[in-house]
């Protein structure tokens, strides 16, 4: 990424916000063609920040208490971004962590992210822009202090938001008081990373206390005066189209204010959540259903050879070498439909007044939601203010927000604020699922037991193509679904001939981004297959991999995490005291990650005792939170690999509740997780998703050593 400097012309400052001091208003220009923008973000770890280019844009506020409020264009969904951004800003602004407050930028602030919060890009994409903005603001305040204090700026020093020099001191709050004209300097030289006091340190999360003491910070917690509750009738059947509804019974039910019929949905507004839900159940809807889908129909669609192929990786001529049939090793792997199952259901609190709308909600796509609401209500986008809240889990589920439109339509119909949320059953049935996949891997070994040629064919439902972030127009430009092939490319570049082919299938229900996109399933397939090849070659699975990694920067970083995890875990390819170790590695968005699991089998149940994880995300802005992401991703990945599965029965996606939708719980979580962080890059890279890659294959590889059973389908079940 080019180090584009802040445009001086666009770094404006607006004076006087009541007694609050100033709003520093800046913009960071960066525009990319869609192809490079999206593909770069998803796959290479080159993560441009795609900020708004209109002004003004609010980034920082100085409060009268001499605190700094950072308006974050990225939302906090647990990944720890707020804390990392506060650390980065505090270091360049010369304030303490205690002085930093982070809030979600309302769309009214102009601080809008053109991409989304997702793809493990938040900290990496803001690393340069945020430091430049903070450093510029620090210099502006310092220069203004020099004027006010009548001391030359060279004599001034700054600590904890207080400017000192020539025997005088002045806080930032005092400096910015009553200032309306600001001189904006050229972007200052950024500090040396070794001089940072907060970046690189395990600072406690800035949202820790709110989350421990139960503060009302989530979308579901939002309230407005005179608020009512909405409920929308949703089909439980795949592909059902709304025709019409009999609302006569619902209209007279207790607490009902109004039943609202729209061309595409019917909903009810009532005085309480329960009254709205009860009335909803009394509405009889006619649905048009064209086909009664079953799991077998879906499995038949997701098959390599069906759909549209696209070659996404090709070195040498693997196809030709693997076509003659002799001495070819080939296995197939599968992954099921996965649900997001985030704890906070989707929904929104909408307040539509005659010429404007306010929407308070958990969303990963502030800008897209604003556009969708404006279109439906026929308002200018500037008249729609999206107020993002903390998210009760994101994982890609909040990249689609049609329920915000429904809340807005109902609010407009009753002239009061309306809060409308999914029930858990609706959440499971209307999810934007992780698509099922089918993988065919083929390879040929040399006489020395090295891979001569290898090919990965992957069939998947849409991931990025199902997302509003990738408009339909982009599909022909991009060719293959960048989300589906995330993690699908072969990372062993010293193999002479290798290729990857992605087969696109569009399923009858919504499929989309699920934390790490295709990485989980693709790594499960490739790294299970690598293990099978190592066994066929009679080689140690780690040595087998190391010998086929290319000599370049990404190859070096991958080898380093592999060596680190082996050393830390004491990896041995043997069964000791009923426990076996399993190994796997992946590279996702330029972050390599290797894991070793220790597994036993008791009564046909797979038990994961310990996971050792080595990862190189470059600079870990907050090493404790990088570790937390590894720990969480490992257990979430275990959950998906060992337990989770949605089925289609008589047109309905099922199960629709926790429990029957089996997930890893406390009892399944490993008692030991050991994380080793390496840093062979001079900038922060992807963190939140890469550690989901290796876990599935690592477990399957350990299970094979214990049981002799090679489990090639997720979820992993012993026979």
């Amino acid at each position: 990424m080019s180090k584009k400097r802040i445009s001086r012309r666009r770094f404006l400052v607006r004076g006087g916000l009541g007694t609050m001091g100033i709003l520093a208003v800046g913009t960071y220009l960066f525009r990319n063609p869609i192809r490079r923008g999206i593909a770069g973000v998803i796959n290479k770890g080159e993560t441009p920040y795609m900020g708004n280019t209109s002004s003004p844009i609010i980034w920082f506020e100085v409060t009268s208490e001499n605190n700094i409020v950072l308006h974050s264009p990225k939302v906090e969904m647990g990944q720890g971004t707020f804390t990392s951004l506060a650390q980065i800003a505090a270091d360049e602004l010369e304030v303490s962590m205690g002085q930093m407050k982070v809030v979600h930028a309302n769309s009214d602030s102009g601080n809008l992210d053109g991409f989304a919060t997702g793809g493990s890009t938040s900290v990496s994409s803001l690393w340069v822009p945020l430091r430049e903005l903070a450093a510029t603001m620090r210099e502006m305040i310092k220069n203004k202090a020099a004027d006010k204090m009548e001391v030359s700026s060279e004599q001034l020093s700054i600590a904890n938001g207080v400017v000192s020099g020539g025997g005088k001191t002045m806080s930032y709050a005092e400096v910015v008081q009553d200032v309306s004209e600001w001189d904006v300097p050229d972007t200052p030289v950024l500090k040396d990373i070794k001089d940072y006091k907060f970046v690189g340190k395990p600072i406690p999360r800035v949202d820790l206390k709110d989350k421990v003491f139960g503060a009302p910070i989530f979308g579901m917690d939002a309230t407005l005066p005179n608020m009512l509750y909405g409920a929308v009738v949703r089909s439980s059947t795949i592909g059902a189209k709304y025709v019409d509804a009999d609302i006569s019974k619902a209209e007279g039910m207790p607490g009902v204010i109004k039943v609202i019929q729209e061309p595409d949905f019917v909903g009810v507004v009532a005085k309480s959540f329960i009254e709205a839900e009860n009335a909803k159940m009394a509405i009889k809807v006619n649905w048009k259903v064209e086909r009664n889908w079953q799991t077998s129909d879906i499995e038949a669609m997701i098959a390599v050879g069906k759909g549209v192929p696209f070659v996404i990786q090709k070195e040498g001529d693997a196809e030709d070498l693997l076509s003659d049939g002799a001495n070819i090793i080939s296995y197939e792997y599968k992954s099921p439909i996965g649900a997001h199952a985030q704890l906070e259901p989707n929904g929104a609190l909408a307040h539509v007044e005659w010429d404007k709308a306010t929407i308070i909600m958990s969303t990963q796509v502030v800008k897209i939601t604003r556009g969708e609401i404006a279109k439906r209500l026929e308002l200018d986008e500037e008249k729609v203010n999206i107020v993002p809240t903390f998210l009760g889990g994101g994982f890609g589920r909040r990249l689609h927000t049609p329920n915000a439109i429904q809340a807005a339509v109902m609010s407009k119909a009753v002239g009061k604020p309306v809060k409308c949320y999914f029930t858990r059953k609706e959440e499971f049935q209307n999810d934007t699922f992780r698509p099922p996949t089918h993988h065919v891997l083929k390879a040929k070994l040399t006489e020395n037991g090295m891979i001569e040629a290898m090919e990965h064919n992957v069939s998947s439902g849409d991931v990025a193509f199902g997302s509003p972030m990738v408009p339909a127009i982009a599909a022909p430009i991009l060719g293959a679904d960048v989300g589906a092939w995330r993690g699908g490319m072969i990372q062993y570049g010293a193999i002479p001939h290798f290729s990857t082919i992605s087969w696109r299938v569009t399923l009858p229900f919504a499929t989309s981004w699920w934390r790490s996109l295709g990485l989980l399933a693709n790594t499960f397939a490739i790294e299970s297959f690598m293990d099978e090849l190592a066994i066929a070659a009679k080689k140690n699975p780690v040595e087998f991999r190391l010998s086929q990694i290319q000599e370049d920067d990404s190859g070096f970083r991958l080898k380093e995490v592999i060596k680190a995890v082996v050393e830390k875990s004491g990896y041995k390819d043997e069964v000791v005291n009923g426990r076996a170790m399993g190994f796997a590695a992946s590279t996702d968005a330029n972050t390599p990650c290797a894991q070793v699991v220790e597994v036993s089998i008791v009564d046909k149940e797979i038990k994961v005792h310990k996971v050792t994880c080595a990862m190189d995300p470059g600079i870990a802005v907050n090493p404790d939170q990088v570790r937390a992401q590894c720990e969480g991703a490992i257990i979430m990945g275990m959950s998906a690999a060992m337990f989770e599965k949605m089925d289609v029965e008589d047109g309905q996606l099922t199960p629709t509740i926790y429990g029957p939708y089996q997930m890893a719980l406390m009892k399944n979580a490993p008692k030991e997780i050991d994380v080793v962080l390496l840093q062979h890059d001079d900038k922060p890279g992807a963190v939140g998703e890469p550690p989901l890659g290796p876990i599935g294959a690592a477990i399957a590889n350990a299970v094979f050593r214990l049981s002799g059973q090679r489990l090639r389908n997720m979820p992993l079940k012993l026979s």
Partner: protein, 164 residues
């Protein structure tokens, strides 16, 4: 009908049309205590866990009429920044929360567990802490539960605990 109970040390009476209304919605939407969360509405995830007479219950399926005359505690009443409950203190020390949505339910379940089993083993934790956390913070939660047990033990048994 009118239903009266004590919640977080305060006496409250609520007027409610349907006595079968889940306690969760009374707590969240009438008493405006938002720390107790809606996750599933079927007592399957534990996000709505609060205490009724010291017992952890899942309030999304607990009819409000059963709260009559009882003592209720929610996360807001467990402790505060000046006087955190040992479970909250342990959660802070171990930096447990990620998204944070399920955490009040886990902390309430843990506080009730420690009342019954002051020094739980890993097996006790596995058997009793059965809420759902999608961020999968279980590894740190387990450490925090053991830490909370330690913090509890540091409090003299004879002195009054300030956990109401």
């Amino acid at each position: 009908m009118k239903i009266s109970f004590t919640i977080n040390g305060e006496s409250k009476s609520v007027e409610i049309a349907d006595e079968k209304t889940p306690l969760l919605w009374v707590v969240r939407d009438i008493l405006d205590l938002k720390g107790t969360k809606f996750g599933c509405g079927k007592a399957a995830c534990g996000a709505c866990t609060l205490h009724v007479d010291g017992e952890a219950i899942r309030s999304c399926t607990y009819a409000v009429k059963f709260a009559e005359g009882k003592e209720l505690t929610t996360i807001e009443g467990l402790g505060d920044e000046q006087n955190p409950h040992p479970v909250q203190q342990a959660w802070i020390e171990e930096v447990v929360p990620q998204c944070g949505y399920c955490q009040p339910g886990f902390m309430m379940a843990t506080a009730a567990l420690l009342d019954k089993i002051p020094n739980p083993t890993d097996e006790d934790i596995d058997k009793n802490i059965i809420n759902v956390c999608r961020c999968a913070t279980y590894y740190r939660m387990r450490k925090a539960i053991h830490r909370a047990a330690e913090l509890n033990a540091e409090v003299e048994p004879s002195t009054e605990t300030q956990t109401s």
